[in-house]
Amino acid sequence: MTDGIDSDIDDMRAARLERLAARRGSAAVPARAPAPPSQRTRSRHAAATSRVVALGLSTSAALAMIAVLGQHSAPSSAKPAAAPASPPATSGPPTIVVRVVLPDASPTSVTSPPAGSPAGSTGAGSRSAASQPAQQWSAQPAQVVRASAPIAAAPAPVAAKPATSSHGS
């Protein structure tokens, strides 16, 4: 297998010596005699050994890394969200419910999208936010406070209470 590289090196060496001689304007420099067979055999053994060492080291290191990844990595958190096989189902833009208590103690609801969250954003394209936004902002109608459901123990009338999000801020 290393016969080719031996001849390559001999060719390159001869061509290099010819160029040197031509540049100096002198006669052709005699090329070095080819290496004896024993030296070529040693060279081939050394080349084969270096190949085996390189192949063994790289392959075993890659296999070890696969094993370590399999034992210590959380696959769902490590995978990119390039194009999930089944994108998380969402229905419309995310919703924040703001509960406002009017002076007559009849609650109503005002909905608005959260600041900085584009409509329809599911987190695709961001590896770390791939799964979280879909879980956090998936519309859950049961959590929406409806105007028809009065609050039994309403506090004393105030102008407006701070906004409360059913999903946390």
Partner: protein, 200 residues
């Protein structure tokens, strides 16, 4: 583990393809730049340089094959063969795609070196520097394991080493090369990538 084997294989072979590309480039720079005084004369040194390049192509092939085989990430032929076709991190993935083409070109021209004009081979072979830097940016910006301190440290160390050896090579290439002619009668050092036909 088995369900994610393709994904882990893609990550591991990607990392070690980058390691092998780095090793091949550094080995080649050590061969041609002669930073330790003179080039090594042993033939296995050049053989190992070639073998590292070929092995990096093999690891790259496994890396791509594992990405295609993985059922979670959808990397098809279009995303892998066409730069900027991927919807996930298009620019970092495109860097990897271009580096892949460059690595394949360097390997093919190296295998066909004796049948190609020397100048063409040399121009294409110089593209291995571009392959290395594109691979580095691809690894650091698209690699899942780029946040690993050990691997990030390796990337920084590899980049620094290649930068230093390249600078050394460029600066020493300007030095007079006629000293090589004085050695012509004696043992000739193995410097296959030193183009002495170029004037200083």
């Amino acid at each position: 583990m088995s369900s994610h084997l393709a994904w882990y294989t893609a990550r591991a072979t990607g990392v070690f393809a980058y390691v092998l590309v780095t090793a091949a480039v550094v080995w080649g720079l050590l061969l041609s730049g002669k930073p330790f005084g003179r080039a090594p004369t042993a033939r296995w040194v050049l053989d190992l340089h070639r073998f590292l390049g070929g092995l990096s192509v093999v690891f790259l092939g496994v890396h791509i094959g594992a990405l295609v085989a993985d059922s979670y990430t959808h990397f098809g032929a279009a995303e892998i063969l066409t730069p900027l076709a991927s919807s996930w991190k298009p620019v970092p993935v495109a860097l990897g795609v271009v580096a892949m083409y460059g690595l394949v070109a360097v390997e093919i021209t190296s295998l066909a070196m004796r049948r190609l004009p020397r100048r063409l081979w040399r121009v294409v072979h110089l593209g291995s520097f571009g392959v290395f830097w594109l691979s580095s940016f691809h690894f650091l910006t698209a690699g899942t394991d780029a946040r690993n301190p050990l691997l990030r440290g390796f990337a920084i160390l590899a980049s620094s080493t290649v930068l230093y050896l390249t600078s050394y090579r460029v600066l020493t290439a300007r030095a007079p090369r006629l000293r090589d002619a004085d050695r012509a009668g004696g043992p000739t050092p193995l410097a296959p990538y030193t183009d002495v036909s170029q004037p200083a």
